[in-house]
Symmetry: C2
């Protein structure tokens, strides 16, 4: 009996690659906030999300920027001013995120009920 890998190479696959970045604690939230506001400064995002630390906001923005999902514009002035907005690439991702959000909204109650009844059994 031979063992074969049905779904080879999935670890180097695009989905995994993208989700590793998008699937962390804050990235999607940041993308959604930026999607609602066109342009935001660091502290505006910080306040919009409310409970993200400066460090995580900074790290997450950097990752999103590295992937080309978010654009960062620095104004060389003091105190500093930096503006963030979605790139076209970032914008092209958002509909899928929204679709997922829609599904989540629709099925949240069911899922919570499932979790609850699973625990009891």
């Amino acid at each position: 009996m031979k063992k074969e890998v049905i779904f080879t190479d999935i670890l180097n696959c695009p989905v995994r690659n993208v989700l590793d970045r998008i699937g962390d604690k804050w990235s999607l939230l940041i993308l959604m906030v930026l999607n609602q506001n066109e342009v935001l400064r660091f502290n505006e995002i910080h306040q919009a999300i409310g409970d993200i630390s400066q460090k995580m906001l900074s790290v997450s923005l950097k990752n999103l920027e590295a992937d080309g999902l978010v654009n960062r514009k620095v104004y060389p002035q003091i105190p500093p001013k930096v503006e963030y907005k979605l790139t076209d690439l970032g914008k092209s991702l958002l509909p899928h995120v929204d679709a997922l959000a829609g599904w989540s909204n629709q099925n949240m109650q069911t899922i919570l009920a499932n979790r609850a009844s699973y625990q009891k059994s």
Copy 2:
């Protein structure tokens, strides 16, 4: 100047709730494998994914089952036999996952290029 939270309550929001489960290292992979195969046994999923540990497969399946995305059917025999398949709820999520997968496939090269050029600067 008042500080206001633009995007209140996002932490208790459905998207976050769902993504906390779906956005881990293995869940989406498992869903995709199950979507391609209708019914699979534990070891078949294990081999299909290739480098997931038994423990993580077990934990992930349990979470997916708890949320009602995956159905688990035990045959009371020895050696044991357990079959996994998507529930209707699970199936209803898959199109969105596939959409995300499609986006990832289309934009993977761009993203990798972005990352590479970001590092150099």
